[in-house]
Symmetry: C2
Subunit: 195 residues, 2 copies
DNA sequence: ACAACCATGTAAGTAGTTACATGATTTA
DNA sequence: TAAATCATGTAACTACTTACATGGTTGT
């Protein structure tokens, strides 16, 4: 149950309305825990019931926009949640199921879809790298900035890995042996955040 | 909606009962799409309604065990599904939400939980490597075997990456600068499947 | 006037989880 | 004969998705 805590985190950084949160989610914490506006409104209502946040209508009268901000009890709840023991969720990767199925009932035209996905992953990668270049170039980063950078780098690593795997799958589907290119660094955590 | 197709794949490899599938899921295709026995029984009933599988009671009378096998229509449906266009699901990573929250309301005792998780990921990694050593050592692999091996290697890569990220997070939490060790190959697809 | 966008919601459905129920067979 | 395991399910619930509804504001 991470959504309420993702919202609390985002609201602590800046008190916002539901729609502002939904938009912000599309390009930060939402990279790792996305949510639609419907989900967000519902969850905000629950958080307010629990007295973890309060909302106030926006002054300028026009419309029914409400700004939510976190109460002390909400902040404490978030801190407790961070330390909670919980097992990692099992993976859920549809493409791996497809590859496994292809191994049994193939060959199919999976290749087309794989190529489409490589392009999508490259797009996402470009987005992440742009954020990294904009927000994390300074030399001396605070603890908080280091953590945020690590989260972003994890996204970069994930996309990089995915592209690599998909290309390997394509090579197998097309019957060519997959060769690792020479002279490239592997994607360690450091290498992955280079351009 | 991958579960029915994961079941079809598994049933094509070997006709089985619900419980056999549930057990098999704990150690193969289920690494990438796990399911509880309740979910599996429900899904098998649906698959039978759709005429994609049929079940027959096991001879030896004792008990109500039923063996399911895939019908031609089921196999065709699986082949069609493999080629379907579908966007990758957005990531859902609770630990990233926690790290992001720690950056805002930390410091907390997240470190303990991170250490616990590193151990869990190492366990999983060991399991994957054991399977790799047992099933994928032969030199000349068929197309099907290559695909299955790639899926397993993706699991290995994923766990490796996760351990790396978690260690980096620990280093930040403890205030030590994170250094990449020298003389290690990065975890490219090839490097990751070495012991 | 009309389109586009801001802002908040309701309704209905699916997937997945958790807890419990039931009976038969095997093992100690 | 008691405990463990095999085998199949039901019930209730939560999270999430998809589609639709509503009204105000801004721009052309």
């Amino acid at each position: 149950m991470s959504l309420p805590h993702a919202l609390l985190t985002s609201l602590l950084e800046r008190p916002s309305s539901g729609l502002e949160l939904a938009n912000r989610f599309d390009k930060s914490i939402g990279f790792f825990w996305n949510a639609s506006h419907q989900q967000i409104y519902r969850e905000l209502a629950r958080l307010e019931q629990s007295k973890w946040v309060v909302s106030s209508p926006v002054e300028d009268g026009r419309g029914r926009k409400r700004i939510y901000r976190v109460l002390p009890a909400g902040k404490r709840a978030l801190q407790r949640w961070i330390e909670e023991v919980s097992d990692p969720r099992p993976l859920r990767d549809e493409m791996m199921v497809r590859l496994r199925a292809e191994a049994v009932v193939g060959p199919t035209k999976l290749g087309r879809e794989l190529e489409r996905r490589v392009a999508l992953h490259h797009q996402k990668l470009a987005t992440y790298r742009a954020i990294e270049a904009r927000d994390f170039t300074g030399k001396t980063a605070s603890r908080s900035e280091q953590l945020q950078h690590l989260v972003l780098r994890t996204g970069i690593l994930h996309e990089t890995m995915y592209i690599e795997v998909t290309l390997a799958a394509l090579a197998i589907l097309e019957g060519e042996p997959h060769r690792a290119r020479r002279g490239r660094p592997g994607h360690s955590l450091r290498a992955a955040s280079r351009r």
